[in-house]
């Protein structure tokens, strides 16, 4: 891997006439260049017809390289741009903006995916991946060479948002949207709002009760005339497109509510992991999950009594249902983030109630990041004992205790005392259970939500587009996207609200002008395309004394379904024209030697 610097290498030469295309090939740190010889790709494409500038860069998305591209566009008068880096899902918008800022038509830029669809898919074959990258970049150059300068379509947007889920995230998103003047419809499947937080007691760090927080939020929501809150209700249908969706909500058995909304925010939260019988003694009396333990603590005061028996000793087993790597049998690979802090917090509440209770925390790693560290410190200072175990040898919970002793026994090998095996008697064993996705098949189907391998909803980019999904106008926030504590959920809810408002407050959205067009010279008005368009975007218009088909740009959704039905090959989808596809096919096939 040569030339790791931010300063990109230049080659190729300016051409006196014809296309003037800039080609930028990204190392992506090493994500691409560890598996693809990007310098060889540069050598192979720099003299392609129409290429005026060709460079490699460590990160094409970096400010410095974007700046350099913009300078090249102006300096060399480029009329086309090809960036070979990651999936267009990530940076298509970034580079379109670079082109726009520098005065190049953004639709004469092509994104070539040499990461997800090349380097990462062929980590075992450097020569094969390099060869493929060359072909892909040539395909992109061919596409840009036959591209047209286009201007975006402008559509009116509906100033109303549908929020699915009325937990803290959904309620806070609704408030945020209402506060900037957008109407909101909130749909909650349960009869009550507030989700998990509504059932929580004293919360870290301010000691306010979850129920009180939710009640306060609900008061504010009710005070907003622009918010309609529907409980016991579910989204059942969605049609239309970004900026103007038509949604159908079923409330109870008989009521149907219809609304037009510009965007949808999904805040459906999480489920807690429910260990099957036998996992860490689950099923034995006295073995409880984290939410069960929390409710038990919430329900009483003074010394702890569980099922009529005084509690003298508690064992917590961490990472139940989380971080189940290969050594732990596989399953949920992620860390659930909130459980270390929650368990430590509850152990401090136990110490408030009865400082004499012995508390043992069996953990793999403690992840009390940020201010949560104070919980961990307090817990240790108040006598909690932390015992580390290895995931390949988890604690064993049994009822095998002697007469007169607490009824449970936990055997654990303590990694930090040279692997000594300990037997701990316990009145209660708390399984510190993590977060799992909620079953939401119906919603996933209706909204076409992208679901990751872990069953959680996927954003487009964790850093750059953290609340947007691949479905335009459908945003996600809170724990349905990944484990979050309540403050993190609310932060992401406000991010989703801001993102939704950013688009809808303008009152219009710019859509890709990648719509179908009819060449009137070729069209002989055979009539086959009219019924092929379910959006009724094709109309009959007069043209030089006869009638031909014509596409209404604002109505066309750009699917291209009319293209193959035209026997005269008179219809092209802009961005995917017949000429472009054939040129790409040729570019992809050109020998790479």
């Amino acid at each position: 891997m040569s030339d790791r610097g931010e300063k990109a290498r230049t080659s190729g030469r300016d051409r006196p006439h014809g296309n003037r295309i800039g080609v930028y090939i990204c190392h992506c740190g090493g994500n691409i260049s560890d598996y693809v010889d990007v310098e060889r790709v540069l050598e192979a494409v720099k003299d392609e017809p129409g290429v005026a500038v060709a460079k490699t860069a460590m990160f094409t998305c970096s400010d410095a390289t974007q700046q350099e591209m913009a300078e090249d566009i102006r300096e060399h008068g480029l009329d086309g741009l090809v960036v070979a880096s990651c999936s267009p899902k990530l940076h298509q918008f970034t580079f379109r903006e670079v082109a726009r800022r520098a005065g190049l038509n953004p639709y004469q830029y092509s994104q070539v995916n040499i990461r997800e669809q090349c380097s990462w898919a062929h980590t075992d074959d450097r020569a094969g991946a390099t060869d493929k990258a060359i072909r892909l970049v040539r395909g992109g150059i061919a596409r840009t060479r036959s591209s047209l300068p286009l201007t975006p379509l402008v559509v009116d947007t509906v100033p109303r948002v549908l929020v699915v889920g009325a937990g803290v995230a959904g309620l806070r998103a609704a408030l945020g949207l209402a506060q900037v003047g957008l109407e909101v419809v909130v749909v909650e499947r349960e009869a009550e709002v507030g989700g998990w937080v509504a059932g929580l007691g004293e919360l870290y760090p301010h000691g306010r009760h979850g129920g009180g927080l939710v009640a306060g939020l609900l008061d504010q929501v009710r005070a907003q005339p622009g918010i309609t809150l529907l409980t016991g209700a579910e989204l059942v249908e969605k049609s239309g497109a970004f900026g103007n969706f038509q949604v159908e909500i079923r409330q109870g058995a008989s009521r149907t509510v219809r609304a037009d909304v510009g965007a949808v925010i999904v805040a459906t939260g999480f489920e807690t992991y429910d260990p099957p019988a036998g996992e860490f003694g689950r099923g034995r009396p006295g073995v409880v999950t984290l939410p069960e333990f929390q409710r038990f603590l919430e329900a009483g005061t003074g010394a702890l009594v569980y099922e009529g028996r005084p509690v003298r000793s508690i064992v917590y087993v961490y990472c139940v249902g989380s971080r189940q790597g290969p050594k732990a049998g596989g399953g949920n690979l992620y860390c659930s983030r909130y459980c270390c802090g929650a368990a430590g917090h509850l152990s401090n509440r136990v110490a408030d109630r009865d400082p004499a209770v012995r508390q043992y925390h069996l953990y793999r790693d403690i992840r009390t990041y940020g201010n949560l560290e104070a919980i961990f410190t307090e817990s240790r200072n108040r006598g909690s004992v932390y015992i580390r175990f290895d995931e390949s040898e988890p604690p064993v919970v049994s009822g095998d205790a002697g007469a007169g002793e607490p009824r449970l026994k936990v055997r654990v090998r303590d990694l930090l005392t040279a692997g000594e095996e300990l037997d701990i008697r316990a009145d209660l064993v708390v399984l510190v259970t993590g977060m799992v996705p909620r079953p939401n098949e119906e919603l996933v189907r209706t909204l076409k939500l992208p679901v990751g391998k872990d069953g959680l909803f996927s954003e487009i980019h964790p850093k750059l587009r953290p609340v947007e999904t691949v479905v335009d106008g459908v945003l996600i926030c809170g724990a349905c996207q990944g484990p979050k504590n309540s403050s993190e959920s609310v932060a992401s809810a406000l991010a989703a609200a801001a993102q939704g408002a950013a688009v809808l407050k303008k009152g219009y959205a710019e859509l890709d002008p990648l719509v179908a067009v009819v060449d009137p010279e070729r069209c002989d008005d055979c009539g086959q395309c009219y019924p092929a368009c379910p959006f009724e975007a094709i109309e009959r218009v007069p043209h030089q004394g006869r009638e031909v088909a014509s596409v209404r740009r604002a109505v066309c959704k750009g699917c291209g379904a009319c293209v193959p039905v035209c026997p005269a090959a008179a219809i092209d989808l802009l961005g995917y024209t017949d000429e472009q596809i054939r040129a790409m096919i040729d570019g992809l096939l050109k020998e790479t030697a």
Partner: protein, 165 residues
Amino acid sequence: MPDRPDGGGGPEEPRILVFSTNNISDPGIDLAGSSHLHYPPGVVVIGLPCTSGVRPEWVLYAIQRGFDGVFIAADGEECGYLSDCTERSARIFKRAQDLLTEHGLEPRRLKMAAICSVCAEPFVDHIREFSAALAELGPVTAAPVEPGSGGSAPTGLAQVRKGYE
């Protein structure tokens, strides 16, 4: 591993053109890469908005120009545009196979399967299977056609350009 005649390092593998769709199957194919699931590097992808927009003539052209096979990674029931995308895609598939047959090419060189946005493993399985089937079928025997043959004349697009401006 024997060297490829074109200088690439892998074994001689069938070249497969995939028509994916930007919102459904392309994310699924991306996910295969993100998950580092390997498939033959002779597979390249052209993304379109919707499977119902694939012109059968493109399938023919791809094979006439040198691809060993075309795989349509279809939207299936997931299509965000058309509720009858599956039926339309099936008609396109049939027309494309007929076109291949008319031109003396094996219709088996075209394959189609619905690939959803998280269908990383199914995609890789289909592609490996198709690649093996194409290897067994051997190379295309017909001589390749000239670039651009059978395509819309560029004049059509010039008209469009004029109309657009």
